[in-house]
Subunit: 377 residues, 4 copies
């Protein structure tokens, strides 16, 4: 079975006169030809790109307008069926600096998913971690391991890897929501598993309960069922309802007004969705948060290792990402690349600017590579 390597070399090296580079000579050219033939690349020609003083993101900041996303999703709803093979009517953000791949950032997938009345997206499971977030609408139930979970505006629905899931639109209107996954991370590191499930849901799974079994077991402040001991890598709670999130954010701002330390900075409240079995992030690779910036307030300017995707949940304001700046409104989505300065300001006339955020921070925390820097005001 001895196979001979005959791959043409993709390595191309050029001897150039430059600071820190060896002098271009015929001997150097010959050396570089040898490198190319043997599939080798020297550090000295690449170090500036590979080892910058701080992350210089290739992934650029970019904004997608919600009205255009919905418009195209509706059009897809009319002409693209949902079924086995394609699996989902999901349309992903393709960061223009990432080569046309459906990657919002180097590690994160973000897509709008769209389901017509009566449609089912078939059951499958995959090792990639996922969540759904609902910026508007209702009527779809996601069925995770047979547990039907209602999806309504403001709800956050995490779903750890390798759980069976299908979606069902039980309403008379189409519904759109966003999906977030770690598909690019798993793709790049080559760690994906996938399995097809049943073609259709059982009658018992086609019900539309107000609350899922997971919520009835787990959705209590600081209480857990004694029958479910131990730590689980991904949260067993399948829905985090808007009513709780909204109340938590309001209380932070109220506490701040009473003189208590509760917000991240004046006028900037934020909650993190967590796994009740360990108090950590809901998913091993994805952090998820809801931020509320009070009328007229502005967040601190932060740089963080790792990338984020935001969706405006409510209100209007201005966001600044590195040297880009956008006026944003409900549903708009944008990415903040690694180590780019980010801040957000709520328009004065608005009650608040609510921003849903997800990021790859848990990956960096897990390998002790996370850093954050808050710029002086």
């Amino acid at each position: 079975m001895n196979v001979i390597d005959t791959v043409p070399s993709p390595v191309h090296l050029t001897a150039e006169a430059a600071p820190g580079q060896p002098e271009p000579t015929p001997a150097l050219e010959q050396l570089y030809r040898g490198f190319e033939q043997e599939m080798l690349v020297p550090l000295w020609t690449q170090i500036g790109d590979l080892m910058p003083l701080h992350p210089k993101s290739k992934a650029g900041a970019h904004l997608w307008r919600w009205d255009r996303l919905v418009q195209l999703a509706e059009e897809a709803g009319r002409i693209v069926p949902v079924g086995r093979g394609g699996e989902r009517r999901a349309i992903a953000l393709a960061n223009p600096t990432l080569g046309g791949r459906p990657f919002a950032t180097p590690t994160l997938w973000a897509a709008i998913q769209y389901l017509m009345p009566g449609e089912d997206a078939p059951e499958h499971r995959h090792s990639q971690h996922a969540f759904r977030f609902v910026v508007e609408g209702e009527g779809v139930w996601t069925v995770v391991n047979g547990d039907s979970v209602r999806m309504s505006r403001g709800d956050f629905l995490p779903q750890g890897g390798w759980n069976w899931h299908a979606h069902r639109n039980a309403a008379s209107k189409p519904m759109a929501w966003i999906d977030g996954l770690d598909i690019p991370f798993a793709y790049y590191t080559e760690s994906q598993f996938f399995e097809f499930g049943r073609e259709s849901l059982s009658a018992a799974e086609r019900i539309q309960p107000e609350y899922s079994r997971s919520e009835r077991l787990w959705a209590y402040p600081g209480l857990r069922p004694v029958s479910q001991p131990g730590e689980q890598p991904a949260t067993p709670l399948l829905a985090y309802r808007w009513v709780d999130t909204d109340r938590a954010l309001n209380e932070q701002l109220a506490l701040e007004a009473e003189g208590c330390a509760a917000t991240l900075s004046p006028g900037h409240a934020a909650v993190r969705y967590t796994n009740p079995t360990n108090g950590r992030d809901v998913l091993p690779t994805i952090r998820t948060e809801m931020h509320r910036v009070r009328s007229g307030a502005r967040t601190q300017t932060r740089r963080e290792v790792g990338s984020s995707v935001f969706q405006v949940f409510d209100g209007q304001g201005t966001v600044t990402v590195g040297d880009r700046q956008w006026q944003v409104r409900r549903g708009d989505m944008f990415v903040v690349p690694s180590w780019q300065a980010f801040s957000a300001q709520c328009d004065a006339g608005q009650a608040s600017l609510d921003l849903f955020r997800f990021s790859d921070t848990p990956i960096f925390e897990a390998v002790h590579a996370y850093r954050v820097q808050i710029d002086a005001a």
Copy 2:
């Protein structure tokens, strides 16, 4: 500062008649044009590539012969100076399936580094984790935070991120060794920091002690200095000497012969280099091990999530990676991509086949994505 997006779209979509795909129609073509304009990509055209049933590595298996690596490194030693800017005379393996980039695997960097007599590689530090492994030769001291560490055949020298380090060849002959780092992982996830250090070492750092201070503090079985409490993300022990590694491997085989469970499988001993402050891997992102296959023995066939780089330390044998197979000898290096079946067999006439291995396994363990499968014999 409102900037208008005028990036030409890198997204290119083609409507094709295929199972699981929507029927190509003018409406579909129009939809795809809309996607391209808005920087969107549907899941249904990409799912097979993004979400395979199991990892289908794009990174291929590949072998580099040590004699060619050394030959080219010697040539570089003659014509490429070492100094500030280029920083190191390091020549990296460029996996031909990874586009000509100096990446041995999607996450791992592997290079031969070469230092002429009397040369110093200047001080710097970076967030990327690194190690050196010495397949032959001696005479270089690596100076980590002012601690001079001898490098000799069989020694393994880890160096956690963000530690100052320089190298100095104090001998009268050139010396080559290999470097392993997580440069591709940090590059892809955009999490790199770098800082230049002093131009030259002090007189006190130019000594050549037999044992580094780190060894004198930490290189004892199960003992730690009470003055250094707590857990450290990367090992404080800067050298793992061959004499210990060799003895540990021999004892495993001897214990196996006495009927005790000590080896991974019959004739296959293996030790892992660990961080004495927590018993885990020496570096948060890189696992390192030495394997010994007894004369005539063959390892089990394993598939693992994540990629590995091997270097033959001693002996001769046959290694099989997926559908590739090579006869290998001292110094040869090869990569095992994610989920490709790997086994190694020691030639009958050899005492043993010793394989140094490093892998990105800690990343997957940290995010609960690791899987391993041992094929039936």
Copy 3:
């Protein structure tokens, strides 16, 4: 400063003819006199007591009736003032097998505390972990680090060690509740710290808010404030309200009726109070739970390493502890010593038997000494 030891020996040894014992001889007697003089005790005379085949609790099962506890607390309310020095009008359960000390079990303190209208218990702090549980009544606010926390029937109020706290009865009626602490554990292991606080509360602390600041920050299912990162040894949530506990227990029984695994055993629901920063017990040394046994149902019979104290919160039933059995009703308290078989049965005519339980289990889990055994039905 050389002091001469002149303590009379407390060691008393008797040579006895018994299996496993050396033959009583004058030489043995002389040896035992030598042991006594040198403060020594041989293993061979003690091993049966020190190293039994399984825990043979010296602490016996015991029951305290709530009506008697309240009666005596009321009497104390009339004649014993509350103030600096005595600190609290707390009356502790003294397990009769523990020598008259105020220890409910070898590790746990349980007391009824009683506050007259308008009374304040002065501020102090201690390293011992504590909680309050309210079986009936209302009107007292506990003030923890300046945060006023309402106490009402069914509420559970944990308070980690070394937090300042005072109590204030703002109502027109006396109020009783129970305190649980790890006082015996800290006493025996000699690890206690204590500090007196201010003599009186400020006006701002004398308010009676419906919800404490801690609840407004932390009492949400799976949400945590981003401004409070990291893990805390004791829960930051100062009140777990009955409405949540009751609902969680009801839902477990409802889910069981629907065929889902949610209860500990048929008809036996249970929730554990947990620390939202890590999903573990609210206090590092004390586990707290609420159990509900459905009408006519009976729990499994369990033996566990470590001791528990129970209080009947509601309903009536029969509890069995080792060879003791009691008919119990609201407020009754009893202890279950280590490794004694425990079960509870709800009377048929009752809606349910609700049992509040606290135990020292976290200590054993922390040192890997926990065991549990469920007897065959």
Copy 4:
């Protein structure tokens, strides 16, 4: 089976006129009689004893002289056989302030064990964690789960709970060593399990290998067998040899002399015995260390939560514990109670004062109750 409680009350309360105490009146006396009848004790009479400002150890400092220990052990060797039932010829330190029980401190057992030539101590196992330390002599092998482990001067031999073990004196002379266990902790918290093993060892277990299998697998600096993954609560390494301990201590003092931070304080080196699977203490409940104080040097004065037992391994010096002070020499044993100030000084004429120490610190660290205070010089 309803049993009526008829235990006579061990509670005895006396109304006394004292600060912080209620005024003695007939009503108070009547209340106290009620408390006694109902097995209740008020906090206000006990708080000074239960909740001191800092630990006020009831366990006193005490010293046992090695020559007397050995003398009595020899005598026991002559007249007390070793066998099933008594199990071990172990003679325990009974701290005179702990009521004549064989408890060196509230949590720790310390004993001299003595085995005559040719004697076997029979096999058993128990949940209590144990270790042996050899201050002098040789010739005994401890057999742990069938692995024969040599015991020689300076060796430390830990043995986690629930492992089978026997001891065998294969030499022509008696041998003494010390045992340390957490017997008092397990006794007080009622968490002990015990099982008798085989009556005699097999021929294969009666060998006297230089190194145990556990050492051949685990006794390497920073290396672990890949065949033994994961974390283990107690160390799998069954012997920590003096040659390593001695070298580590010498190197710390040498590094200090070279200007490097390696010692705890000037002239005071210390190593901790650790579990190579997690870098933590060898046993979940017992910390073990070897300290070396250089000629003429003096340690800092420390107070720590929890208790320690020391044995002088070599040299002579003065130790100060609270208000006690002793001149000590090889083999002498003493206890340092919780929060008592401890320091040690090496006599000027001695090479060094070597102190073996074990303590219950891991228990307090596990429940977040540990504190340490270093007194100003």
